[in-house]
């Protein structure tokens, strides 16, 4: 049990981070804070992938003449990093679209507070 808890310590941090992100999305009333929560959630998942690639006593995945290409156990797995480059781009694009929507919400309703917004929407004619 102790080994399981200590051996996976990095994953515990990642799940803590995910919980913080989700809590930000669900509990915070300000729309910008929701976007911050979204970014934290995305970063947690990016770290999850990157952490999964690491190995003990392994080096960066660039061909080392001293090691050669055959010893794959001595190199870190580069694939999750490549995947996460794309995921980072997706995350940036999502935040960008979210902020564009927030600007347009602010221009129309003059508020970013979720409760106030719902109140205004209720009284707003179609």
């Amino acid at each position: 049990m102790r080994d399981f808890l200590v051996g996976h310590y990095f994953y515990w941090f990642i799940f803590l981070l995910m919980t913080i992100g989700l809590a930000g999305i669900v509990l915070k009333r300000n729309l910008i804070k929701k976007v911050i929560g979204m970014s934290i959630l995305q970063v947690a998942i990016i770290l999850f992938f990157v952490a999964s690639a690491s190995k003990w006593e392994a080096t960066v995945p660039i061909l080392d003449p001293a090691l050669g290409a055959a010893e794959t156990a001595r190199y870190i797995n580069p694939l999750p990093h490549c995947l996460m480059l794309t995921a980072i781009v997706v995350g940036v694009a999502t935040s960008g679209v979210a902020f564009a929507l927030i600007i347009s919400i602010w221009r129309r309703f003059r508020t970013l507070d979720e409760n106030e917004l719902l109140e205004k929407l209720k009284h707003d004619p179609d």
């Binding site: 979210a98 564009a100 919400i105 707003d124």
Partner: protein
């Protein structure tokens, strides 16, 4: 050269369209619509051609850059993905032809280039999701489609940015869950290729990490599909989006989530895993049944036509989920057939609602009366036919989806689900007859109601322009034609989509 590359052709055509449309719009103000329509027509032609090719020669694979899977990314054109791409691209073409006038009246002209470009990008995403054979590639296409969709929603009514933001938050969390599921799968198997994973997964057994991976992926697709407790984004997004956007995403968008679910559950994890190891299929069928009832009951309470159609979409997606969840061959056939049938019905209904909106300036149900029907007889007839099909009257397509679904529930001896299907048909009848009754029986209202309606461009009294009427009528006619031909479609095409080992169980 074209034949060997055909699996990748449809998404690439849309991607090219997404780049060319905004560029051409800078120089030629009127070019966005014809360009977008041309690219969609080409993609629709390619994907219909692909269906026949697949039936002839079997599954086709395209390897990007010549890298062999599982290291490279491959596109797989099997009967299921060929069928779904053909359905979505043909419906998109019809909706796009209809969209020219509604876009012109709802969206300022300087935004036409970006708007059509976003439609192209969204279709790139949808086609990519269906065709790709790689789980991470699927995630990227999922996000491409979703991001374009947020933009397409947000150019609608005054309230549309709020609806789009809510969808963005929910959709992004769904995407993250899917990615997390892919991460668990990758860590445990070392592969992202679907065919490769299908071979590896039986060797890994059913550890908690595999089950967690499956659950997260199903959660992600459930959000995109608006499966019952995850449907919160849908009603507002459909209601406040521009007519063209809601007519595109209602028939196509949710089906992509259903396709993802189908692919992951039955083609990667396999029937045994999702029904015996983890009772996930059963859980999906209960959620879907709850969604069918919830959507139907909520639809009865709506006074706005688009909102009624949105809640009815939640119920109809429930039929697809129920077919998937029953996990027998008839259920899967019903689910895939309903992807086609519901796509046609919902597109027809949303186009009719768009016609009402353009001519009357609104689509509020209490304000509809026989005067509207006299002004727009063809639109009203198309709407009525599609509504009858939703209720499930033979020989329309809606009847056959429900028929196969009912047979599937009888086969599993799930009498509760059979009762749900019957009850929801009655509820469908209730809420659609509210509209039909007004169109045909309520005497025309006072003059001031009709006169106060704002006059849309190109509107003289009477029916909408041919470019809007024709797609509506083609869809309405297809409801009967495909209803009559459904045996051909099932016997000739859909039987071959079943995952291996399942065809034998067919009667």
């Amino acid at each position: 050269m074209i034949p060997t590359n055909s699996p990748a052709l449809a998404p690439l055509l849309f991607l090219l369209g997404g780049l060319l449309v905004p560029l051409a719009a800078l120089k030629f103000r009127r070019s966005p619509f014809p360009l977008a329509a041309a690219f969609t027509a080409a993609a629709a032609a390619v994907s219909v051609h692909n269906v026949f090719r697949v039936l002839e020669v079997g599954t086709l694979r395209y390897r990007f850059g010549g890298w062999l899977p599982p290291i490279g990314i491959e596109y797989v054109l099997d009967p299921l993905s060929a069928f779904i791409t053909a359905v979505i691209n043909v419906i998109a073409l019809l909706v796009l032809i209809h969209a020219r006038l509604t876009v012109a009246s709802e969206i300022p002209e300087r935004k036409h280039g970006p708007y059509y470009a976003l439609i192209m990008l969204m279709m790139t995403g949808f086609n990519g999701i269906v065709l790709t054979g790689d789980f991470f590639n699927l995630y990227v296409f999922l996000e491409i489609a979703s991001l374009s969709l947020y933009g397409l929603i947000a150019v609608g009514d005054r309230k549309s940015p709020v609806a789009a933001f809510r969808y963005l938050v929910i959709g992004m969390v769904g995407g993250c869950f899917y990615l997390l599921g892919v991460g668990f799968l990758y860590i445990n198997s070392g592969s992202l290729n679907m065919a490769d994973l299908k071979a590896i997964l039986p060797l890994l057994g059913a550890g908690p990490e595999i089950i967690v991976a499956l659950c997260f992926m199903v959660l992600g697709f459930g959000v995109k599909m608006a499966l019952f407790p995850l449907h919160g984004w849908l009603p507002d997004a459909y209601t406040y989006a521009p007519t063209a956007t809601s007519a595109l995403m209602a028939p196509i968008g949710t089906k992509i989530g259903a396709y993802g679910l189908l692919r992951v559950l039955f083609f990667v994890f396999g029937l045994n895993f999702v029904t015996r190891t983890v009772p996930l299929a059963q859980a999906i069928s209960w959620l879907a049944a709850a969604g069918i009832l919830y959507g139907s009951i909520m639809a009865m309470a709506q006074d706005e036509l688009k909102r009624l159609l949105a809640f009815s979409s939640i119920a109809q997606v429930g039929y697809i989920g129920l077919g998937i969840g029953l996990a027998n061959p008839l259920g899967l056939l019903a689910a895939v057939l309903h992807v086609l049938n519901h796509g046609l019905m919902k597109a027809c209904l949303f186009l009719a609602a768009g016609n009402f909106r353009l001519k009357l300036g609104h689509s509020r149900i209490p304000a509809l009366d026989a005067g509207v029907r006299r002004r727009m007889p063809w639109t009203s007839a198309a709407f009525t036919l599609a509504a009858l099909s939703m209720i499930g009257l033979p020989p329309t397509v809606g009847f056959f989806s429900k028929w196969y679904l009912a047979l599937a529930t009888i086969r599993n001896r799930s009498w509760v689900f059979l009762a749900v299907i019957l009850a929801s048909s009655l509820l469908n009848a209730v809420y659609f007859f509210r509209v039909i009754e007004r169109l045909y029986l309520k005497p025309a209202g006072r003059e001031d109601e009709t006169r106060s309606a704002p006059v849309a461009p190109s509107s003289v009294r009477g029916e909408v322009a041919a470019s809007m009427l024709l797609p509506t009528l083609v869809l309405a006619a297809s409801l009967i034609v495909i209803g009559l031909l459904n045996v051909l479609i099932i016997k000739g095409l859909l039987v071959r989509i079943l995952p291996p080992g399942m065809e034998a169980a067919l009667p």
